[in-house]
Symmetry: C3
Subunit: 318 residues, 3 copies
């Protein structure tokens, strides 16, 4: 595997989930695979779960790891050609990327949407430049438009808990004080659709996701109708995608908060969220602490998802 | 060992010191013990000695290590239940802690007193929440009220240098520009008393420590009287504990600085300090550079103290 | 090897280059050498290439690594004796250095010129204090006046590409928005002269380097004349060294930018720069992206240069 940026890069989902479950039973079976191999983790944005779970996954495989916080311990990078670099950007990605590639075997990159220019965000330029110029296998540790390690972990978690072949999965918008990227809902929709689940997306008007991510999913603007009969409820906030409101917060309406009364509309659904979660905005204390909450299980599966991706990348090295 | 927060967690002190001295002779004897085990070091406050010595101790045991600076590279955490999280705290400890626990085998936590609320500080909430919710063995890398790895290292250092079975140890307050927590003096008193030493505490009026830490130690307000016949002088600044001055600096009186003339009152005592030390506030250049200064030896023993704690935690894992 | 601060510490250059080329063929041949050995990397200034390449080199040798950002995650250090430390410097180097030394086997230090006091910068006090007080082998990861790991990598790169026994190497000043230290040009001159190359240095009037670094090199104020017949062109900006302009930017004249028309004056020279580089200030996109550009090769050789130094330091440990 040379890149991992979206669901299509992982190939057959049944095989991927089976591999994840096998690794979960014995995380240290492949420590020889990563011997004398180095993972470089590059953070253009802060991270807790992704940093720790990916580093742990690499160490499970016997890899060495290096972590670089680009905006904290190092340089601001220029991304354009032809610029006279007389400002605050001390280095060009076209030098920085191949150099970083020369010091490692695999690269993980985290780079969020900046909400300044939708086309720029949705072009995934930083991630694509790493794929193009680093000379190494590159995987997303959350990019502007997708968070595939999260979605893979979510898929594994659903497969571990589902009781129907094709569960009903509801992705519901919920309020948040800040403007958040669409990476998690975009990516979640993409993976749920690829898995063949019955996906319903619910949100207030104006929060429509990009059509290429919604695909064949049903969009239902009435949250209560959407939740009826759900097996899994995946809550998440995101800022508006549609013009002219790209990146804006249109609502902080707490009637969208997932509470016990809404969960009662479901088929005893499991509650899911990618974390970090704003309690009593996204979900009440009661629901997130209930026995049907899978938030910790999802997070724990992040380690396994990253380990599958790293294992495949290591296997692809000569 | 499931937790290490105070002297009582380490059990028999003679055994602990003996184990430390044995590890010191061969630091790399137990590298198999930490194989495929991961230490997560979590810093809510900055660190130099604790970070390096604990990381080194873990590597001596063959462990993998992950370091997270919570206020620098990651999130501000909410600690209360029932709060509508619409402010700047992006995550609740009740999610963050079990997630962190899922990515490691042992957790070290550093979290200082904030001096906003004495009861809050002395409840050690953050440390206690990690113990309660992480599902992993947890040790203090300095908490609000104690610094047990420091005190353990101090004990080992005294045992290495004492010439009497029950030396006279003087803990003396000394001036400092800022308001410092009571963690080091509290903890030092606790360990010296548990070790059965003759402990005298000296400080200006108003700097009384909490009675549960002073215990049977003698308090002497005249520093010169206190120092008479001392075998070990342990200098440290702390802010006031007693109400209504909790967390306040009541004095910067440099007549409390430990200098050669005061050391001459002792029985050729060794000088000790946990570092970092403000020279010519706490102690003069002359005294800290003298052959009787143990400050570097104490710091070096931090690695050994941490290694004993980690070794016992690893032995306790199934 | 107990220290590595300048070209004289590496001994015979032919042997050093030969050792580098041998390590480059098999980076993992000496993993037993670093077993249970720890490298402490200490950054008083930010770093990308040096951090990653040095950490990778240490891991290639089987070492453990610890990275400390002194101004970011830890303390401001006092460097003077006799100071009453009642300000913002929480610790004295005279305690901090031996303590750091006690937790590791080898120390790398990065500390730039501050341009406040030329004599202070050129005394290399921080680096020298580490050599004197740490009790460990110490190497420079760029100091105030030299960057020997960079120069060693540059030498290896030239040796890999030269077609004449004694190539003509031109070090040319080029414009930059900020005031940069002289460490790279000083060090580069020192190594080129030691290697016996034909070194020409060109810069606008006022940018003369210190005579002890220029040595027998020819100084030519006309950049075009200097470039005639060059085999290697090494571009770099630096701030003025000569009084009364020490540390000042005297020119941002883009007629000094290295472009294709200037490269045409050379003997089909290779283009070199230590990176990070300001494109279209130091060098045009066209030249840096041309097949004769060695900037990525130089950076990649940083890993090898560091590995030679670390290997020799490890061999010197008992």
């Amino acid at each position: 595997m040379h890149k991992f940026t979206c669901v299509h890069d992982i190939g057959d989902l049944r095989e991927a989930v089976a591999e994840a479950r096998e690794l979960k039973r014995d995380r240290f079976r492949h420590t020889a695979l990563g011997r004398n191999r180095t993972l470089l983790m590059l953070f253009f944005n802060a991270s807790l779960r992704t940093r720790l779970s990916t580093q742990k996954a690499a160490m499970n495989l016997g890899m060495n790891t290096m972590v670089l916080d680009v905006n904290q311990g190092a340089w601001k990078l220029e991304t354009e050609r032809g610029v006279v670099m007389d400002g605050d950007r001390a280095e060009h990605l076209l030098e920085a990327i191949p150099v970083m590639g020369s010091y490692c075997d695999v690269i993980g990159v985290r780079s969020f949407a900046r909400f300044e220019d939708k086309q720029e965000d949705y072009s995934e330029r930083i991630l694509e430049q790493f794929i193009r110029y680093s000379g190494r296998p590159v995987f997303s540790m959350e990019a502007a438009t997708r968070h595939p390690l999260q979605s893979f972990a979510d898929l594994v978690t659903i497969e571990e808990h589902k009781t129907k072949e094709r569960p009903k999965v509801v992705l519901t918008w919920a309020p948040h004080p800040n403007a958040l990227p669409q990476a998690v809902p975009n990516s979640f929709a993409e993976w749920m659709i690829a898995a063949g689940y019955d996906l319903v997306i619910t949100h207030p008007a104006g929060y429509e996701l990009a059509p290429e991510f919604v695909g064949p999913a049903k969009v239902e603007y009435d949250q209560r109708k959407a939740l009826a009969g759900a097996d899994f409820v995946y809550a998440k906030n995101w800022a508006a995608w549609a013009d002219p409101n790209y990146g804006k917060v249109l609502s902080r309406d707490r009637s969208w908060t997932v509470d016990a009364e809404k969960m009662a509309l479901t088929d005893d659904a499991f509650f899911m969220h990618c974390l970090p979660v704003r309690r009593n905005m996204i979900v009440t204390d009661e629901v997130i602490e209930s026995p049907r909450s899978l938030v910790i299980a999802e997070a724990a599966n992040r380690e396994i998802a990253a380990q599958v991706v790293l294992k495949r990348m290591l296997e692809g090295l000569s």
